[in-house]
Symmetry: C2
Subunit: 360 residues, 2 copies
């Protein structure tokens, strides 16, 4: 199979379009990984390693400090929003479509700079990884940290998750749990012989609807929490009283709360129900006092903000590497069906990163 | 393909076991229809016609009255309750497993009598049909009535649905509707940018949980209604605020209420929600004053009861043919995972029908 050619000499916005139009819903990243690998291998200053559908491209210039710059290449499911198209919002040029915000624009900026910057002032490890939008156990960066921790090493890490071109510190933790109700099957014409598990889920949804999420200050940044049903399922057949209903909830919690505390909170909220945690990841404290973080913040000239979404900065934090989020696109548009990124923000992010990496 | 052989000379309980062990969840009735067709064709006194997976076997003795005796050959999904096995409950011999109650025992009694009674006192049309446990549009008897109404004709009809060996008159109507809530997708880390459709379903489940079903007298029989969620679904991915949730409800209504009135009741209960009727069938008034119904009731020596479940007696009613339910098995065990039928009830039903059809 020949990889789809990517024009890394095009603008980062045009490269974003090319990357978005290679559909890459989690689990189907093969084609985009091939394309990125081929583009990276064309740059003689990069040592390229592939692990599954994760591509690692490193400079080896003997610099005294190394920066890791990473982005994920998968998207949530397409919902009538591919191929991408140009869109003008309030007179401002945008690129519209699945992945434009989360996070092909960030990947495009990274790939263009990786190929073009043969002599950055720091050694750089560029990482493009798979399976970020699904269960923790599939995450390409988790796998890389477990199988090749050497390739993750660095003095500072930047994750290109959408942050409106601003620096966002740390991230909320995330936990998914299944809340299960149980009943007794019966023919629906004689419902009194059974017990309806779906009806019992009313109490679970009531808790969710009445829940008021916290806002929490951590190291000067204000984190906003959230608790939501993300899936519900139940039922056997159109004439059977269902004996099970499962509500899957997603709790996003401030980095001041440990995974254990977050789990206890959810178990407590749904006391009396069968609660099973199916996926969980700690948050990350901002960590903006690290020397390279301070330099980077000064270079970009931004006021750091809190990151609401869980991102893989937590994975770098866990390895002791200070890490921030910095990427084009409005994070509130991530996963939305009207996902679109301002073209100027892609160019701006590229310019900031380029200036810092070349100290120009 | 050779049909699976059925021993119609065995007891009706043994024949029930043989029929149950041919798995025949709706949509997969091919093998059991083949087996029944082959058994019927071995009886020289029967004219056999097959329409899809529905088998019609008729005597043509020139009697002045014709009785239609029918049963469905499909079951709801198996849930660890096949193959069948003997079970003793309170010292009474039972046959346990999917389909024993609904309604292979009834089918076994019918098939044994069809093959053995070469000269019944009425002409008899035996019908074994497919797709009763699923959507109205698939029902084999509906198809037969539409495509071959001549094969349905008769002066009186008996449906072998489980009725504890008692005569149950008429049946409740049934209606299935989807109640839909709509939201706006967003990343679950920034839930405030979206709107959660699953949370909104709390109000739908609340209505269901608080609903108190009616009991209604119709022609001296007391019908019990019911309203239940039979399915719920919603969700896009583990980190996306869901934009849709669908609760499928099943309303079972007394035969005094028309389909239009039943629909209006459901629409009214869920006012403000998007309600779509996906499947509906009118009930049937008892009709126990028909001459053959009176003779049959006297012969069996039973006090007629109301039928709660919708059954295809409504289809005969709609053709102007009085019809009752009469079959072995406790209807409250239909679709339950611990479905089991008392062996004595199978034999008793067989004896009653045999005596009436031979006037012995």
């Amino acid at each position: 199979m020949t990889a789809i050619p990517l024009e890394t000499t095009a603008t980062s916005a045009e490269l974003t379009r090319q990357l978005c139009d290679i559909e890459s819903v989690s689990g189907g990243e093969g084609a985009i990984a091939d394309a990125i690998e081929a583009a990276a291998r064309r740059a003689p200053h990069l040592d390229v390693t592939r692990v599954g559908d994760t591509i690692v491209a490193r400079t080896a210039l003997g610099r005294d400090r190394r920066v890791v710059i990473a982005g994920h290449i998968d998207t949530v499911p397409v919902n009538g929003n591919l191929p991408t198209r140009p869109l003008v919002v309030d007179g401002e040029e945008h690129l519209w479509g699945r992945g434009t915000v989360d996070m092909k624009a960030g990947v495009a900026v990274q790939l263009k700079l990786a190929v073009e910057l043969a002599e950055p002032v720091f050694d750089v490890t560029w990482i493009w990884y798979d399976h970020e939008e699904v269960g923790e156990e599939h995450n390409g960066l988790r796998r890389l940290a477990a199988e090749h921790p050497d390739l993750m090493q660095g003095d500072f890490a930047i994750l290109g998750e959408p942050s409106n071109g601003q620096i966002e510190g740390g991230c909320n933790g995330t936990l998914r749990a299944e809340i299960r109700t149980r009943g007794v099957r019966a023919h629906s014409a004689r419902a009194w012989a059974g017990h309806n598990a779906i009806h019992d889920a009313a109490a679970v949804l009531q808790v969710l609807q009445e829940y008021r999420p916290r806002e929490v200050d951590v190291e000067g940044l204000r984190y906003r929490e959230g608790l939501n049903a993300v899936r519900i399922s139940g039922g056997v057949a159109g004439n059977v009283i269902p004996d099970e209903c499962i509500v899957e909830v997603n709790y996003r919690f401030a980095p001041s709360r440990s995974l254990e505390e977050a789990t206890a909170h959810v178990v407590d909220l749904f006391a009396g129900f069968d609660v099973r945690v199916v996926d969980a990841a700690s948050g990350a404290r901002p960590g903006l006092d690290a020397p390279l973080a301070i330099e980077f913040i000064e270079a970009v000239g931004a006021t750091p903000q809190p990151k609401y979404g869980w991102t893989d900065v937590a994975r770098f934090s866990a390895l002791g590497i200070p890490a921030v989020n910095f990427g084009p696109g409005d994070p509130t548009k991530a996963h939305a069906d009207d996902e679109s990124v301002p073209v100027a923000q892609i160019a701006g992010t590229e310019a900031s990163l380029r200036a810092w990496l070349t100290r120009s």
